[in-house]
């Protein structure tokens, strides 16, 4: 079996005295789409942020593509990674945020080419070509010169996806990408994500969109109280949840 893209073993995370993750075990295989659901405060967003080291885990092991997140292991000792190494690893992982977090002082196109040009040292012409291509893919071919404030929420989120894809990541993290959108705009973002899943991208998606999980998810994970309560094939988990808490949650959101 190949190296898992994400491997979490007994991951713990606390903020001050608050235990947010209390032993998360998860595996994401390359090409797999994992959807994480759960009530708010269950730790699903925190876990996602740990994967690209926006949060540091307190104990357990977390590895991306066979390498520990944030540390280097030599013998039985862990060494903290230097800033530049952390950046290099983050560049291989794309992330999409609930509130888009586009750079408001840059046009759509500038948003997308910023990291390829400055981090990957790609030429501006090449980066622009890739960016235009990506904008077409997310259905915003004509919006390159617009500023984010001139876009709708759904358009902003699609630009944010294009921005993350421009770095040609091997893993994409989605943190409630449709939660801040008006209901009629959710579909256009989910369509882009479905296409991405069909293209074989490895994805970890925190969402409340059960329909999306059923349609494109390879694995559905239900988290509550900082642990994985139940995981399995989406259809099985949705139609035949084993755990009481899963049943209770699904009965509310379905």
């Amino acid at each position: 079996m190949s190296t898992p893209m994400v491997l979490a073993e007994n991951v713990h995370k606390r903020f001050g005295n608050v235990e947010v993750l209390t032993g998360v075990d998860l595996t994401v295989q390359p090409g797999e789409v994992m959807v994480i659901i759960g009530p708010s405060g269950s730790g699903k967003t925190t876990f996602l942020r740990c994967i690209n080291h926006l949060e540091k885990i307190n104990s357990g092991r977390l590895a991306v593509d066979g390498e520990l997140v944030g540390y280097r292991e030599r013998g039985d000792k862990l060494y903290e990674l230097r800033d530049s190494d952390v950046c290099r690893k983050r560049a291989e992982i794309g992330m999409v945020f609930q509130h888009f977090n586009l750079f408001p002082h840059m046009t759509t196109l500038q948003n997308i080419i910023e990291a390829p040009v400055r981090v990957k040292k790609m030429s501006r012409a090449d980066a622009t070509a890739i960016a235009r291509d990506l904008l077409h893919k997310v259905g915003l071919g004509e919006m390159g010169e617009r500023y984010p404030s001139q876009l709708s929420g759904g358009q902003k989120q699609r630009v944010a996806i294009a921005r993350a894809l421009a770095m040609q990541p091997k893993l994409m993290l989605f943190d409630e990408p449709t939660s801040a959108l008006d209901p009629e705009l959710v579909g256009e973002v989910l369509d882009v994500m479905k296409q991405l899943a069909r293209d074989g991208m490895t994805m970890v998606v925190v969402t409340h969109e059960i329909g999306f999980a059923r349609e494109v998810g390879d694995k559905l994970v239900f988290m509550d109280g900082g642990v994985v309560v139940e995981a399995g094939h989406p259809r099985e988990v949705i139609t035949n949840p084993q755990h009481e808490r899963t049943k209770a949650f699904l009965s509310k959101v379905l």
Binding site: F97, F103, H105, E114, V119, P148
Partner: protein
């Protein structure tokens, strides 16, 4: 009296059908006698001011001349000496603000750094430079040779080297720290302390999600600061910085206390000789006003530049508004609708009564 009954009376049936539009309300407007009283009072004060400024004459020694001696103001206004002073004032302002802005950015970043030593040093700097009068600081820099006095046969006593150890480069403090340099350093270092707080407020105003988004793209910290956070912070930083620049233009007059030949010093050198104190101070004041006005216009356009992306459409500049207004007065009145509200409002004000 009975409100509910009155409103109920005709409504259910009549709203459905076509209703005649009632005639325009013609009411007698509220009188504002207070406005007329203030207009008269201000008119009297204005007349007094005009009289004192232009027409009244006073006896000085053997001759009578204008109270404010505008002819003397005119005589000196465009002289070489005054221009020379103005130039030094502008140089001082630019250099001190450059030192202040660069120093302020560094101090603000230090203050927000995770490194406790850096943030403490930044705090201490602020504490010292904000806690002492800038005039005193200027005197300190001016008298630096008192601390590092040139000794006989060894004029180079200001040195760079290892503390308590060997010294590598030596300077003569009197030739290195001229009054102009002392003023630039003094005003600049003091300004840096104030700019640091302005920059810090700007940096903190940028949503942390911006930093996280940039981090998730693999951007290193310095790049995030330079490309993402600072440009957005500028929107908050620019207005108070314009304020500081205008303030610095006038604070630079303090340099006259350490014999720097800036604008105030140049005119005071003249009136020390001719005793025409007030006219020459007016010369200086008018020049300060002119430069301040230019700076205000510049600030407006810089603010506009950094507002891009924040608002969907930038509001028109006063110049564009003027153009819009001229065009609307030439064309049909309907065109008024097309231009923005503010212009219409301005026109309405002009057409309306007091």
């Amino acid at each position: 009296m009975d409100f509910t009954k009155g409103s109920d009376a005709g409504s259910p049936e009549s709203t459905a059908g076509t209703k005649q539009r009632p005639p325009e309300i013609k009411a007698i407007p509220v009188r504002h006698p207070g406005r007329w009283v203030t207009v008269v009072l201000l008119g009297v004060l204005a007349a007094m001011a005009i009289h004192a400024l232009i027409f009244s004459r006073v006896k000085r020694g053997n001759s009578t001349d204008g109270r404010f001696q505008w002819d003397i103001v005119g005589n000196y206004f465009l002289t070489h000496v005054v221009f020379q002073g103005l130039l030094v004032t502008l140089e001082l302002t630019v250099i001190a603000m450059a030192v202040g802005v660069v120093g302020g950015i560094l101090l603000a970043i230090m203050r927000l750094s995770d490194n406790p030593i850096l943030s403490t040093v930044s705090w201490g700097y602020l504490w010292f430079f904000r806690g002492t009068p800038v005039l005193v600081q200027l005197y300190f820099w001016y008298n630096i040779s008192y601390l590092f006095p040139p000794v006989l046969n060894n004029f180079k006593t200001l040195s760079i080297g290892i503390p308590f150890g060997p010294e590598f480069v030596h300077f003569n403090p009197n030739s290195l720290i001229t009054p102009f340099v002392a003023a630039s350093i003094g005003l600049g270092l003091n300004e840096a302390a104030y700019m640091a707080e302005i920059v810090r407020a700007g940096l903190l105003s940028v949503d942390y999600g911006q930093t996280e988004a940039a981090q998730s793209l693999g951007m290193p910290r310095a790049l995030i600061m330079r490309r993402i956070v600072l440009p957005q912070a500028m929107r908050v930083i620019i207005p108070p910085t314009g304020n500081e620049t205008i303030s610095m233009l006038k604070t630079s007059a303090l340099a006259s206390a350490i014999t720097v030949g800036e604008l105030l010093e140049s005119v005071s050198n003249i009136y020390a000789r001719t005793y025409q104190t007030i006219p020459l101070l007016i010369v200086a004041s008018i020049w300060y006003l002119i430069v301040t006005s230019i700076l205000m216009v510049g600030q407006y356009y810089v603010e506009r530049y950094y507002a891009r992306g924040r608002v969907r459409e930038l509001p028109p500049t006063p110049f564009q508004r003027l153009k819009a207004m001229l065009i609307t007065h030439q064309t049909l009145p309907a065109a008024r609708v097309a231009i923005d509200d503010t212009v219409v409002l301005n026109i309405a004000n002009r057409d309306g009564t007091l």
